[in-house]
Amino acid sequence: MTLEVRNLQTHFHTKAGVVRAVDGVSFSVAEGKILGLVGESGSGKSVTGFSIMGLVDPPGRIVGGQVLFQGRDIVGLPEAEIRKLRGNRIAMIFQDPMMTLNPVLKVETQMIEAIRAHADVDRKTAWTRARDALGQVGIPSPEERLASYPHQFSGGMRQRVAIAIALLNKPDLIVADEPTTALDVTIQGQILYEVQKLARETRTALIWITHDLSVVASLADEICVMYAGRIVERGSVDEVLDAPAHPYTAGLIGSVPSRNAKGQPLTQIPGVMPSMLNLPSGCAFRLRCAHADARCEVAPPEPVGPRGVRCVRPLAGPRTGAAA
């Protein structure tokens, strides 16, 4: 198993109180597999990604759980140790390509330093590898582009550069945090296709974070649906999308257009995500849930196993996690 996250808890100690941004999340990704991490904005997906990278900044802190990377728990490793993994064995792609590259450094500088942070190679060798990586992600005339600054690239091209940087050291795991959200649809499609191809070819494990179910539908092997810092449903793509068990998942599916439901009106999940400082007791979703009743006021059991749901009154699909 490339990555196994066990009962991860990342909390932010703010003046207003403790924000349990990630509150007991468990999942795993195997070599060459793609996991889709899905949920509305604010559900704790990015914080989960940063926790894996060891990049949670104060007031946030990992307060519990384990992040087992190739069997080794990397939570609480000394900075120097975790830095050897970052950008080397585990890479991350960020959401907004306009913001992730340093505006005042040439692309080649930003690529070469990423190689030389982990390998003792001369600049020339590093430059060649950087050029090849740019070519690999479909950037035309990579030699010239290396000498450019980020502002000379379009958004889609910048994200390709960021992806090329993530691929530079042939990582075993890539955390992609909504990398196509800021791009327009055609470019989104190209990038999805290419990343999938690259991940399959290199057998890299990939965590693809998104709020858009239709994106993971064509991409992922497995899906974890997150709500208010917890995973509320997990399963293979087909299981989750064809027979969602959690009303929240069903709501997410109902809110995106699909081929199967052509002509039917889109539905929306009523209400907004509750404040993380002030979650309802029991099931965090129950105040927005059409199916909720008195039983939902006690916390539903943890979903376990490859197919599970955190709900005492699931729709179709599996029974509660405890029974699965």
């Binding site: 940063f50 990278m53 990049l55 900044d57 900075e79 830095r83 050897k84 993994l85 970052r86 950008g87 080397n88 890479a91 991350m92 960020f94 907004d96 913001m99 992730t100 590259l101 340093n102 505006p103 005042v104 450094l105 040439k106 930003q110 330093e113 990423a114 942070a117 982990h118 600054y149 502002h151 960021a162 940087i165």
Partner: protein
Amino acid sequence: MTVFIIRRLMQSGLVLLLMSLIVFFGVFAIGDPVEIFIAADADQAERERAIAALGLDRPIWEQYFFFVANALKGDLGRSFVFNMPSIDLILMRLPATLELALVAVAMSVLIGVPLGMYAGYRPDSVGAKTIMAGSIFGFSLPTFWVGLMLILIFAVELGWLPSTGRGELGTFLGVQSSLFTWNGLSHLFLPALNLALFNISLVIRLTRAGMRENLPMDYVKFARAKGLSQRRVVLVHVLKNILIPIVTVVGLEIGQVIAFAVVTETIFAWPGMGKLIIDSINNLDRPVIVAYLLIIVIMFIVINLIVDILYSILDPRVRLGDMGK
């Protein structure tokens, strides 16, 4: 780039012409130097001879055109007091002021940037809070008072450093300066620190603000996600972004420091242009005042040009061709 510089030089010429008008007529308005030079008991004939000798009997327009024509030949008039070309007089004093200003600006960067970076990197530490409190003093205490205190403490009480004059001059590559001898440097230290204090505070606050603004940005997190050392992230990625506003401010500081040197030079008896201009104003030595002001204007123009060029080197998003339009 070339187009930019040519356009800039043309603009500068215009600015210089306007400034010469303002300065020349402005200085005319402030009083009649003849009263100061001519003995009170001189008779009318003597008076008129003196006035004619100074060229002051001509109409003011004619004096101005005469002045401009000479200025274009590099002659900015003769000092009434020293009876020598005012430009020579100023250029003689220029190195003293320049070395003072240069050291003051260097101090403001070399002290201000590291302190500001630390204060921005660890904003809640005791060190950062001390630095920020100190910078408030640097901002608000008047230069002359700080200068007197520096003299009192380091020269009078402790006796560590001299407090007047330039000390020994050394020669290096044909330039004479107190930068090149230990004795000269010891003379330079207190006045330069005095002159730098305000700017150190300014650079500290600017750098700290830049750190606070840049550290939470995505590009910093991405740089860390690549596995770079914190050192490289801060000293290369963040510093390079912060330097852009700092270069602008430091550039403007050079001009401001030269202008403010007047106070410091007076307190530390530093034989620079500032002291000369104060004496010249007291004596209504018009040619010297005019020449001084014009040289200051030229200096500002040159500094701004250099700042703009540096700016474009530091920030690839700025293209010089688009500036100054």
